[in-house]
Structures are given as structure tokens and as C-alpha cells.
Symmetry: C2
Subunit: 240 residues, 2 copies
DNA sequence: TGAATACCGAACGACCTGTTCAGTATCGCC
DNA sequence: GGCGATACTGAACAGGTCGTTCGGTATTCA
């Protein structure tokens, strides 16, 4: 968005820096790459770098911005309506895993070690936002106002997906993207439907867990208890 | 293990440094803490620091080693046998969430931002190892040799748990540890049992997803295809 | 008490960061 | 084609961190 950058020198410098970072990340891993090294590799002046990016991470994210568009393009074919029906083989995740497979060297370098935190967080939001959005719509349609649990369920789902994605990359893609999509859907859909009170087709239409009282009250009490406990710790203390 | 450190000066220095790091992490976050700051806060010589730890992260992990023992102690009451029966309210996760609640300030500081990568990884293994171990035993008992999928399921489960744990901490503990345990169990158990072919009490005893052929063969072919595609990228290339 | 050893403190070189500035090259556009 | 605008260069800057070294001092163990 806002993509009109006319001056060739600008695009050239940016691309040189991005390519240099990519190469160095693949060679040494993100954490081990220094701005200085990027400068040397790209053969770009120090001042120029800081004229374009605020630092190493900004450069990384600028690269990922292109990947984001790429993912978005691939995901465009999937309408929000499709997300709802978990019980059927939707293939929501297939594009994600396919994209990761295509760019697997970069994904591995960025997600594998601890450097991936920023990227993982970005991916998390990228998946969580539309999912949450649609789940809330679906719930409203079924007239079940359980918004708090939606966050929890979405978090669990996206965390599981990304965890499995990393595992899958490090295991050298033992299954196809299609298979990954199916096994994850198979793993998660039942429980998600149950937790959200959807899936009326299922045997158990969600009894329990917030059962007898409103969770808010018990929650507040619980927090107070914990805070009290934390303020007056034992002999050797907790949370020191 | 190997715990005999007799010289008081040693334990004093280590504790001073650990406490200083803890305090600074709570104040500024792990990434913003510098070795120099720890030295100043602990009032310990630079040389002394490097006599004990190889760097900032080693110091952090030495702190977490104590938490690890603490978690291990709490988890000790839960026999591996208990882990199997997902369908019942086991409470496997309750100690984890309780421990996180007790130490929530530290957990939040360490897990919240991107600094937590090392710690999350450590926690991941801590949870995954016994779970994997027991699931394999359970599967062997049911005579289903599906070892490859165990890794995937364990990864998904642990990732979901840790993701939700972070969410729960940042949402300021909206539920009790017991509730968290129950909702996660409710969310995950059905699908896990289904994916592993356990849960014979369920309606669907796991048909599908690895259906018609052995997954290994299709897998190998798939990998070869992907590798070929990656070596001969399009005009502007993928995974550049 | 005496020998072992952990600590101090100061200094070291090496590295990285982010900013500045005058001079030069390249660009977009009329 | 040419001109004004703009991006880049290159070098230097101060400020910071890191990990190591060393002789001298203090504490501890036995």
C-alpha cells in the first residue's frame, strides 16, 4: 500500500539492503547479522541505510512486508464464509504451509532459532485477526455471546498451527501442505466448535466448564486471592 | 544435580547477580538489560561475572534452573499414567498455570515480549518430553504404531498450551488455573485422541487423513517436487 | 593460622551503533 | 538537453557494550 516510490535510486538501495540481509540471515542466522555486515555486503553507505530504515529489524520487516502481500494474495481466494465450517476440509491453512514450503529456507532461518520472535508474532496476528473476526460473526449468528473465550480459542488454534508449522519445517516437510491442513483441522475443529458452543451437529453441544456460575465473579475473587498471596510471600518468597 | 557449591563467596556472588538480573528484567525487560547494568546493580566486579557465567543468557537460565526444579516438584505428584486419560478432568496443566500465576510478574516479563524465546523453548521441551513419552506408551498399549504423528500432536498441544498461557498472563489471569486446565483439556483432548487413534469411546475412532496410501511415499515425492521447484524459480524467483 | 581461592578494579582492544556533514552522482521533469 | 531536486558517498564522531587480562586484596576452608 502507498507503493509509489518513483526514484530508482531509492528502490535500488532498498533492494540491495534487503537482499544482503536475506543472504546473511541464511548464512549466519538473523541474530548474528550486524548492520555493519549488511552495509558491507550491500555495498551501501551507512548514512543511506539509516535514511531508509530505523535499524536491523525494520529492514527485516520490510522484507517480510513483501511476503505478507504474497500470503495475502494467496489467501484472498478464501472467503471468510469458508472459515466457519470446520468440520469439512476447507483448506484454510494449505496456502500458509505452501508458502512456507516455497520459502522454506528463509522461514527456517527466521522461525527456527529464537530470532523468529518478531516474525512469529507478526504471523500470529496475521492469522488470528481474520479468524477471530469470523468466529465472532459466526457466534453472533448462533446467538452465543461468549467473546472472551473466542480470544482464548483463537490463541490456542493459532499457536498450535504456528508451532506445528515450525516443527514441520524443521522436520523437513514430512507431509504435504494439504495433509498438514487436514490433520490440523482434524485435530482442532471438534474442540473449537465445542468450546464455542457451535457444532450443533456434534454429539455434545457444549455443556460445562463455565457451568454453574458466571465466570466473571469467580475470576475477580481469584485474582484478588492471588494478589494477596503475592504480596505476602512465604519465608523464602515467591516471585522474588 | 551436582549441587555442592561450598564456598560462600561463590553462592553470594551468584545470588547477587541473579537477583540483580531479576530486578532489572522486571523493570526494563530482558532485552533492555545490559551486563553492565547487572554489574552495577549487583555491585559485583566484571571479572567475577564472567568467572561464573558466559553471558547474560547463561545468567538468565541459571535463574530459571531454580524455577525448573520448582515446576518439577509441583509436577511430581502427577504420574505419567494420569496423562493418558484425556477425557476426564485430570488437571495436568493446573500446576503449570498455578506456578505461572505465582510468578506472574516474572513470567510476563520473560514471556511477553520477544525476549521469551529461550524460556518458551525450555518450557516447551519441559512439557513435550513427558507428554510424548506417555503418549507413545499409550499408543503401544493400544497397538497403533503411529510414532510420526505423535510428534505433531505433541507439538500442537504444547504450542497451544503455551500460547494460551501467554495470553492468559497478558489478559491478567481472567480464569483460575483450574478453569484453564479444563478449557484446554476440553479444547484439545477430542482431536488429539482422534488424531492418534485412541479414544475408542468416541463416536469416530479415527478414520482418514492418512487414508489410502502410506504417507511416507507421498511425502518423499512431495519433497522432491518442492526441491525441484525451489532450484528453478520463476522470473523473479521464490525464496530469493 | 596458613594456604587456597574468590573477588576487586582498572584498564584494554575490538566491535557495534546511530548521527552528522560536505561533496558528488543520479534522478525526474520541464 | 539541461536544471533543480534529491539520493548517495565516505569519513569521521561520540557513546556504548563486550569479554579478557592482571596484580593486589579479602575471605574462606581446613
Amino acid at each position: 500500500m502507498g507503493g509509489e516510490r518513483r526514484d530508482r535510486r531509492v528502490v535500488r538501495s532498498r533492494r540491495l539492503l534487503q537482499d544482503a540481509l536475506m543472504a546473511l540471515v541464511l548464512e549466519r542466522g538473523y541474530a548474528a547479522v550486524t548492520v555493519q555486515a549488511v552495509l558491507d555486503r550491500a555495498d551501501v553507505g551507512r548514512a543511506t541505510f539509516y535514511a531508509h530504515f530505523t535499524g536491523k529489524e525494520a529492514l527485516l520487516l520490510s522484507i517480510f512486508e513483501e511476503l505478507r502481500e504474497s500470503i495475502h494474495r494467496e489467501l484472498a481466494g478464501i472467503t471468510p464464509a469458508t472459515v466457519a465450517r470446520f468440520g469439512e476440509g476447507v483448506g484454510l491453512l494449505q496456502p500458509l504451509f505452501a508458502h512456507a514450503a516455497q520459502h522454506r529456507r528463509l522461514y527456517r532461518a527466521l522461525l527456527g532459532s529464537r530470532d523468529g520472535a518478531a516474525l512469529l508474532h507478526s504471523l500470529h496476528e496475521m492469522l488470528a485477526a481474520p479468524l477471530r473476526e469470523h468466529l465472532e460473526a459466526a457466534i453472533a449468528h448462533h446467538r452465543r455471546p461468549l467473546t472472551a473465550q473466542v480470544d482464548l480459542v483463537v490463541t490456542a488454534y493459532v499457536s498450535a498451527v504456528l508451532g506445528v508449522l515450525v516443527w514441520w519445517l524443521e522436520a523437513d516437510l514430512p507431509y504435504t501442505p494439504q495433509e498438514m491442513d487436514r490433520v490440523i483441522e482434524r485435530l482442532m475443529s471438534l474442540g473449537m466448535g465445542r468450546a464455542l458452543g457451535l457444532h450443533s451437529d456434534m454429539g455434545a453441544p457444549a455443556p460445562g466448564w463455565e457451568g454453574e456460575e458466571a465466570p466473571v465473579d469467580r475470576t475477580r475473587d481469584h485474582n484478588r486471592e492471588l494478589r494477596r498471596a503475592a504480596r505476602a510471600p512465604g519465608p523464602h518468597g515467591v516471585d522474588r
